[in-house]
């Protein structure tokens, strides 16, 4: 079974919840964890990963380059670039590598053959390790300024599937990126269900509603975990929304200083502070996941 943890909004505790959930399920289930937030991967930090056993460079991203020797400075490339990535610097037309999407429109419209080339560049790395808890983790790191491509996530999931076959693992748990863009779509696409994590604030509600639309697009069941549940007592709209949509609420985790403290210790909070209120809530959630989802 492939399950995804998503939130829409960053910083609501998706990765901390994921790390603790993995910790609670590790003895009973055989799974591979995937950190699909290639732009800002953090699950490895929360699981105390210190080294990677295997790293693969991911090439295939492309950026345009203009040869200033043969460039006749006609400006057609700049005019036609769909994303305004071409600037004039000291009289030379230059492609900004940090914003280029690699579509090659500049190369196609350039009247001087050979002046604009489309060069392959590295987009990042995909990495694998075995955590100290025994289960494998696949993670990726996008290089700074590269397109935030779902291809990296697809690559991670392929590797995870291969590991499942090799090691006889039953489940894949994907910690998705924040937002609703291509990495999130690549995470949710092909999964069996999504667990949404949200906090009771208008911003988190707005973002989780958007993430839920992506889940619906793939016709998957969704569940909700409410984090920092007591942090905004007057705000009932999150719960009401979930009830109106028929999204089962797996549980509520109270705001607990044990969580940020555990993050500084680089440990799942259920491991670092097993007696905390948050850990109690998390164990109940894990129990429901065992009974209702993983069965």
């Amino acid at each position: 079974m492939q399950l995804v943890i998503a939130s829409g909004k960053g910083g609501v505790g998706k990765s901390t919840v994921t790390a603790s959930l993995l910790y609670l399920l590790k003895d009973e289930y055989r799974f591979v964890a995937v950190d699909a937030d290639a732009d800002a991967p953090n699950l490895d930090l929360l699981l105390g990963v210190e080294r990677w056993e295997e790293e693969r460079e991911l090439v295939g991203a492309k950026v345009a380059r203009i040869n200033t020797e043969s460039c006749i400075r006609c400006g057609i490339c700049q005019e036609r670039c769909p994303y305004d990535c071409i600037k004039v610097i000291d009289g030379d037309y230059v492609v900004s590598e940090l914003t280029c999407e690699g579509c090659n429109v500049c190369g196609l419209v350039c009247p001087v053959p050979g002046t604009i080339s489309l060069d392959e560049v590295r987009s990042g790395v995909v990495r694998k390790t075995t955590t100290r808890y025994g289960f494998p983790l696949i993670s990726a790191q996008l290089d700074v300024g590269r397109p935030n491509s779902g291809k990296l996530v697809t690559e991670e999931k392929e590797w995870a599937k291969k590991l499942m076959g090799e090691l006889g693992l039953k489940h894949m748990v994907v910690d998705s990126a924040a937002g609703i863009g291509c990495q999130v779509i690549a995470s949710i696409g092909g999964a069996d269900l999504t667990i949404l994590v949200a906090e009771p604030t208008p911003a988190s509600l707005s973002d989780v509603q958007r993430a839920y639309k992506v889940v619906q697009h793939f016709r998957q069941p969704a569940y909700l975990i409410i984090n920092k549940a007591d942090f905004n007592p007057g705000f009932t709209a999150l719960r009401e929304w979930a009830e109106a949509e028929g999204i089962p609420i797996l549980g509520e985790i109270p705001y607990d200083r044990a969580i940020p403290r555990s993050m500084s210790m680089l440990k799942p909070f259920v491991e670092a502070f097993p007696d905390s209120k948050a850990a109690d809530a998390m164990r109940e959630i894990a129990e429901r996941i065992r009974e209702e989802i993983l069965k």
């Binding site: 800002a40 940090l98 690699g102 863009g181 208008p202 707005s206 958007r210 940020p260 500084s264």
Partner: protein, 289 residues
């Protein structure tokens, strides 16, 4: 003139800092705030306004006139996104989700009119008046669409079009090329980070991007009592950035957020912190009133 508020990790308080800083800077500049976190735009919620003046962002999407198409496959060959597949006889089909709207296919098509300019709605931009004396421009990607870049680019243009003295940009988290697009042309980046290992890890990435883009950066440490600020200083120094403010974890900030009243306008002591950040920015940029 443009400045940006950015931060590697999501949820560090970028938007909170952006809106409070915008309110504080309003006393010095005629400004516009642009929310370019198009996958999860929240500045309007924090400012307590409803998005207004919606404009669609539509992308070119090829439509094939199969009467005219010669099945030469050039469109499929040129598509970097592999969004056009061809049947055995060369008949092209589009997979709309993969299409980036770059129009390369139309450029190479040898038969005039065989590729028609269809359109696809990718999202919207908004221009909303706020009760705080500056307008807010917001970009919002449509759910189910993958490409944030066109929305970021269009929202930024809309904000630039207002020709204000100061354009303040609030970016998405991370360091992908949509963040670089938002940061582009900034005179200063305010990098918001937390002093936790995760915050520091991601904060370093944004400082690296700022360095690559040759934009000076200042660091604001949010929830500064939840970790080791000395480590943030160390990283900041490595990239030639200065830590200009430390904002401790504060119930008052949460309370003001919940009440929909920006903290900088309250009597809470934290308001002073934001005014100080603003004066550091004014000092750096010069000008203003």
């Amino acid at each position: 003139m443009q400045i940006a508020v950015s931060g590697g990790k999501g949820g560090t308080g970028k938007s909170t800092i952006a809106i409070n800083l915008a309110i504080a800077l309003r006393e010095h500049y005629d400004l516009v705030l642009a929310d370019l976190d198009v996958e999860a735009p929240n500045d309007h919620l924090l400012l307590g306004v409803e998005l207004a003046n919606e404009e669609p962002v539509e992308l070119f999407m090829p439509r094939f006139d199969y009467q005219k198409c010669t099945r030469c496959r050039k469109c499929a060959e040129v598509c970097e996104e592999h969004a056009i597949i061809t049947m055995r006889d060369g008949t092209p089909f589009l997979m709309p989700n993969l299409c980036s709207g770059c129009a390369a296919c139309e450029i190479v098509c040898p038969v005039p009119g065989a590729i028609l300019p269809g359109k696809k709605l990718m999202g919207h931009t908004y221009l909303t008046e706020t009760p705080y004396g500056f307008p807010l421009v917001t970009g919002r990607l449509l759910e189910g669409e993958e490409r944030a870049m066109p929305i970021v680019s269009r929202a930024k243009k809309r904000a630039q079009g207002l020709e204000k003295e100061l354009l303040m940009v609030d970016t998405a988290a991370g360091t992908s090329n949509t963040v670089s697009k938002a940061l582009e042309d900034s005179r200063l980046i305010i990098a918001v980070t937390e002093p936790t290992p995760l915050g520091i890890h991601d904060g370093e990435l944004i400082l690296r991007l700022a360095k690559l883009m040759e934009v000076p950066a200042m660091v604001v440490v949010n929830r500064s009592d939840l970790g080791d600020v000395a480590k943030v200083r160390e990283i900041a120094e490595k990239y030639g950035a200065e830590v200009i403010a430390e904002i401790p974890y504060s119930e008052n900030i949460i309370r003001s957020y919940v009440e929909g009243k920006p903290i900088v306008l309250t009597d809470y002591p934290e308001a002073g912190l934001f005014r100080e950040i603003a004066s550091r920015v004014v000092e750096f940029l010069g000008g203003g009133e």
